[in-house]
Structure formats: C-alpha cells, structure tokens
Symmetry: C2
Subunit: 209 residues, 2 copies
DNA sequence: CGGTCGATTGAACTCGTTCAAAATCCGTGG
DNA sequence: CCACGGATTTTGAACGAGTTCAATCGACCG
C-alpha cells in the first residue's frame, strides 16, 4: 500500500477499541461498513437454522472483513480479544477505490487470495481426518506473529475449544482428542487451555498437505 | 457490463472451441490467462499428493475462472462439454482493469460474491449429511438454464458420478445411494445416468438450508 | 451377442459423534 | 493465600453415518 493510499484510507476511517465479546455486526444487519483489524482477533461465524454454528474465519492484524455483496452481512463478527478495529463506510470506500485503480487492484488481488485460501479450507474439510485438521489450524495460528512467539515456542490461542471445533467442522470433543494425540506424540504441550508449547518443525511435517 | 467494456474486453480476448476432455490448464502451470465460459461446462479440480481429487467448482456460461495470485494456477481446469471459452492474457486484462475502474469494480464484486458462495459450500461440507449435499448440488445445477429445462423438468448433468462425489466431498457410492433415496421419495427420477426428471418444488423444500 | 466401463447395490468396518462423567481451569470471596 | 463453585475441557463408552471393498447391474459399442 502506497503512503498516499494509506493516508487516503485513514481519512475516511473510524477507529474503534474492542474488548472480548464485542459484536461488530450480526448476520442480516445492513452492510454499512468494511472493517480492518489493526490488532486483536475477530471471529467470523454463521448461525444455522438448527442452532449449529460454523466459524468461517479468524481475522488477525491486517485482515479485512465485512465485504458483503447484497447489502446485508451474511455472517457475525465478534472480537475475541482486546484490540483495535478500523472501519470504513462502504460507499465512501467504494468511491475511494474507484478513484484509485491501483488501490482497488490491491483489494481485488486480496480477494482472489482469499478465494484460494478458502479452496484450501474446502479441501481440508473434505479430505483430511480430525488430527490433520487441528494441525492445519495450529499451523495457521503459528503463521501469526500476533499469537505465536518463535523464541519461546509458545502459541497463545484467544479462542475457545468450541470455536476451534466449529471452525474445522468437527465436534469439540474431537478437538480435545486430537490435541491429546499430538501431545502424546510430543508435538505440542498443553501449558494451559490457551497456551500451547509447539514443536513447529515436527508440527509442519505432520501435515502432509 | 457496459457495451464499451464489453468491446474492450473482446478486443483483448481470444476465443477457443473446446470438446469434452479438453484441458484448459493444470495446477502448477504458469498462470498466463484468465478464462471466461461462453458456453459449456468447465470442471475446476485439485489433485492431492495421495491421489485423491477435490472438485472445487463447475463453471457455467458467464463464469470467470483462472484468477491465480502467485503466478501459477493452483487447480486444473477441464472442459466437460462441447463449448466455447474466451480467454484473456493476464497482463493485458490487468492493464484494462486499471484503466477502467468501474470494470475492475465489477470483478471485485464478482470476487466477493464468489467468496460468499464458497462460504456456503464450506457450511454445506461441514454441517450437512450426504442427501442434503446432493440436493444442494442438484439445486445448483437447476439454477443454470444451460442444463435444466423448466418445461420438461429434465436436468442434464454433463459430469460423472465421481465428479459429483469429489465436488461434495463424499464417496461415489454415497452419491448413488443419495440419488436412490431421492428417487424412492419421488423427488427425482433417473431417466438415464445423465438425465434426471426433477420435481423442483419438492427438491427445494427438501433442502432446509 | 459378448465385452467393457460406469453406476448401483450389498455388507463389513471405521472414524467421528454423542451423551455422560470426571478433571481442570479460573474468578471470587473469605 | 487458599478454598469454593461454575464453566470449560478432557476422558470414556456406545452408537451411527459414511466409507470401503466386492459383487451385480446396465448401457453402450464393436
């Protein structure tokens, strides 16, 4: 992002501080804003008629969310952590993008990257067993400087077990069991519920994706 | 799409006629072109290390595919049907989009719509049983005038059972069994392998999505 | 009419779910 | 600082939907 784009964005942006549990928007709400995470973690989820819930994504620092074609949000967005979110009025962002083709191009590239990521997720959900899914999830988290400290090898997970389970499309108990397997294999060590010590190299070659 | 955009696109486009089995590109190929289906059906799939295959999408008339961030295609694209495909050199399309912000915006909107569609697919894969998955697949096909004739109620499926199975992330046999269930419930009738008579209203309320 | 390939059916098995119980974590107040 | 209580996670055991593998069926083609 060019400095000029950056300042143009900030000019129409509005920062908000959030705490764990803050609801950014609900599915069905009018889609008035596009959001960007500055710090913290946001959970994007969708509630089904029968009460089940699918977690579609966790958004970390730098990620954009809330792009909805059709005027209404299709999902819920909730902060999991204390953090800071930037948001932009949809129309104003739209104008800005039209006036700055290179900036719009960044968004387009970002969107196609997102599509590839989701394809990866579809493959993961369809073809791999529970342990592999959990490994993939942990690797995804480790990719974020936000919550993984390479020095101490400690991964800090801001989300609950049901969040992880609903993200990977499995039962909460299955996540527990998968973590148990990985711990017995000495690939991870559960310090406490939200802190894992991780042997990253071993975790990596445990995921033959 | 404005007429002017249309002609600008055609100016850099190159039409190709395809027959069933034509390979448009393979995963790993240099991503030189963006494709658009004019008529026919294209299967987008991804091969895994262990020989399994995931079908990621079927692309029908009007659909765009082959957008790859990173210079290489991640997936395979194969024509399933006789048809006509338009393709555009990636760099030239990129230039064109930069010079026409509204046209780029269309692509961006298209991409966000695609993201929503894929989220729907993730939910489908994660939360619903085989019969529901097949119902969703059939409904998706019926949405295409290409292959569903509302007058005769006949759906023409250009893809094989393994294609459907790999699309929904289930075994081929499970697709057969699901079709059997739907036929016993008089919701569909298998005329032959590639032609189904469909009771669309009943099919619709059989999918509580 | 026989042969081949894809689709369907059948039967055993497996992985993940479900439901219930035990263990652990964590905030609160003594 | 430690003990208590509710919530979350983990563990255990039974169950079930879907897979797997093998056999049968059916359509298409020489």
């Amino acid at each position: 992002m060019t400095p000029s784009d950056q300042t143009a964005l900030m000019a129409i942006g509005e920062a908000m501080d959030v705490r764990p549990g803050t609801k950014l928007f609900r599915q069905g709400d009018a889609a008035t804003h596009i959001y960007m995470v500055e710090s913290g973690v946001v959970r994007i989820s969708h509630d089904l008629l029968d009460g089940k819930r699918q977690v579609l994504a966790f958004r970390w620092g730098g990620d954009v969310f809330g792009m909805a074609a059709g005027g209404r949000y299709l999902n819920n967005a909730d902060a999991l952590d204390k953090g800071r979110i930037q948001r932009f009025q949809a129309e104003r962002l739209q104008e800005l993008l039209l006036s700055r083709p290179h900036m719009q191009n960044r968004f387009l590239l970002q969107a196609t990257a997102e599509i590839s990521l989701q394809q990866h997720r579809i493959i993961l959900m369809a073809k791999y067993d529970v342990v592999t899914k959990v490994v993939a999830f942990l690797l995804e988290c480790c990719g974020n400087g936000q919550c993984f400290d390479p020095a101490t090898q400690i991964l800090k997970l801001p989300m609950s077990r049901p969040d992880i389970a609903d993200y990977m499309g499995v039962a909460t108990e299955s996540v527990s069991r998968a973590l148990g397997v990985l711990e017995r294999r000495k690939i991870i060590h559960r310090h406490d519920m939200h802190h894992l010590a991780i042997d990253l190299p071993r975790l990596r070659d445990c995921a033959r994706l």
